[in-house]
Amino acid sequence: MQTLKLVAVSAGLGTPSSTRLLADRLLQAARHRLTEQEYAVDVEVVELRDLALDIAKNFVTGFPSAALQEAIDKVTGADGVIAVTPVFTASYSGLFKSFFDLIDPSALTGTPVLIGATGGTARHSLVLDHALRPLFAYLRALTLPTAVYAASEDWGTGGGEAAPTGFSGEGLPSRITRAGNEFADAVAALPSRRTEEDEIVPFEKQLADLRLD
């Protein structure tokens, strides 16, 4: 059986970072689900903090460093991507957006994407739907319906069915499990769409398209 590649992108800045923690938990949940179904799974985390200077330099020079190229290749070559950002000033962080600005707009077309965000309070949780979801819609990714937002208070609550504020219906661990399962099932259901080489359009065809031949 083919090995499925899952890549998590974390835009957390702290060490340790709760954004990274959420990314790891989502990745574990998805891996668990796929392993149960006897898939071979390869997981990796791309930490944007380590690439912050390379990302800025790419904007200036127009090309990525070797390390950044490697990270971009990992993400665009994955069978599924988990993208997690802290909330900064009412949206995803600038670093998070900058990284995705450097990805070819068609490179994630059809790729299952699980989105997640972290913040100081639950009041920012709609950032998933008003910021992250449109971003991945533009990239024509297959964004999963369940996304996970973790506020600081979520890390101090139990895992069962009780929600910290009482209205969302689930605690963080069960939300992570649900999102991970949904994502894993989408990854398993889709055939790999990866191609290695650029296709050459023969020149006769290029001329014919212009009706010049």
């Binding site: 800025a56 330099k57 904007f59 200036v60 020079t61 127009g62 090309f63 460093s65 070797a66 650029d198 050459i200 359009v201 023969p202 020149f203 290029q206 001329l207 398209d209 212009l210 009706r211 010049l212």
Partner: protein, 359 residues
């Protein structure tokens, strides 16, 4: 092999003095640089084409015509001619005229241009960049080879019974290069016509160049123009030299750090590692340039960028002296000794230039 320089024609403040040359000075300096290129024994001078500040070369054939009148041997070329937004009929007329005035010392390089607003300014749509490059060149190719042209395309008014005048010198059109950083369609176009392919090879990592040249060579053979090794390849390069490597780095650093294209980004050292930029001694430039052959094969033309980012004229002329005296003679010898028989030494020359060489 042909060696030369190519200019972007930017008007940039010298970061060490804060002084910005006038457009008049920059144009006159460009002429002085071209004349120096001939004086030190270089083969080619090429100018870019831009239609917005801070660039001066909006009218390449005016500039090249003037240089043609003041030189004897220098091949005059472009880097690049905007095949997307210029009328191919005007390109055919302008460069054929230049060819007559320069006794055949003309070739040109087609490019799409990278300034978005130029397309609407000239009535075109940037989303049609590649189709424009393909259709316009197809027409230009025909105009130089058929005396009477009937034409209908998508982008330009149709032509019935049109003759582009003057006809190319002795019926031989200028040799054409196609320049691109990473569009396989353009490598394919160059291969289809058996034209040259020029890889920008400045500002970008070598991987792009390697991939595009490999594709071009394969497709050149596919279309029956010769073996992959016989395809006509040109490369850019960016250098700054002083006798001692450390002096070169010290002197060039402020220009690098403030350069319009890549300044305020990576360090000079990083950029030198990641791109073909070479700042150092003449020997270092020789070694780096010879190493280009390792990933593109034996090639026919090497153009260096030496006059951008606000470097003063005096410094640029010194660079040309070093290039002509210490670097190019060694490169000519080394590349010639490595080049297998059957691989062209240069891009095709106009018969009148060839004849002059043989005298």
């Amino acid at each position: 092999m042909q060696f030369g320089i190519f200019t972007v024609g930017d008007v940039t403040a010298d970061p060490t003095t804060g002084r910005t040359p006038t457009e008049h000075e920059r144009i006159k300096d460009t002429v002085a640089i071209a004349l120096k290129a001939e004086e030190v024994g270089l083969d080619v001078f090429a100018t870019g084409e831009h239609h917005n500040p801070p660039f001066v070369p909006s009218s390449p054939t005016t500039l090249l015509g003037h240089i043609a009148a003041r030189t004897e041997n220098l091949i005059l070329s472009t880097s690049t001619t905007l095949i997307t937004t210029n009328d191919p009929v005007k390109i055919a007329e302008d460069y054929a005229t230049l060819q007559h005035l320069a006794e055949g010392r003309v070739d040109l390089m087609m490019g799409r241009g990278n300034t978005g607003p130029v397309y609407p300014w000239f009535g075109q749509d940037i989303r049609q960049g590649i189709p424009l490059a393909i259709e316009n060149y197809a027409l230009l190719h025909k105009l130089w080879r058929e005396d009477v042209v009937d034409w209908e395309g998508k982008f330009r008014t149709a032509l019935q019974g049109f003759t582009s005048t003057p006809r190319p010198l002795d019926g031989v059109p200028p040799f054409v290069w196609h320049g691109s950083i990473r569009s396989p369609e353009i490598a394919e176009q160059a291969a289809y016509y058996g034209d040259g392919f020029f890889a920008n090879h400045i500002f970008w990592p070598k991987q792009h160049t390697e991939k595009m040249v490999r594709l071009y060579r394969q497709r050149y053979a596919h279309y029956g123009h010769g073996t992959p090794e016989q395809a006509i390849v040109g490369l850019g390069g960016q250098i700054f030299m002083r006798k001692n490597s450390q002096d070169a780095i010290r002197e060039f650093r402020p220009y690098f750090d403030n350069a319009p294209v890549y300044g305020h980004g990576p360090s000079l050292e990083e950029f030198s590692r990641e791109t073909p930029l070479t700042v150092g001694s003449p020997q270092e430039v020789i070694e780096r340039t010879l190493s280009f052959r390792d990933y593109v094969g034996d090639y026919q033309r090497q153009l260096f960028l030496v006059d951008h980012a606000g470097l003063p004229l005096k410094t640029v002329l010194e660079q040309l002296d070093i290039l002509g005296e210490e670097v190019v003679p060694v490169l000519r010898k080394e590349f010639a000794s490595l080049r297998p028989a059957g691989v062209p030494e240069t891009a095709p020359l106009h018969p009148s230039v060839q004849k002059k060489l043989e005298v």
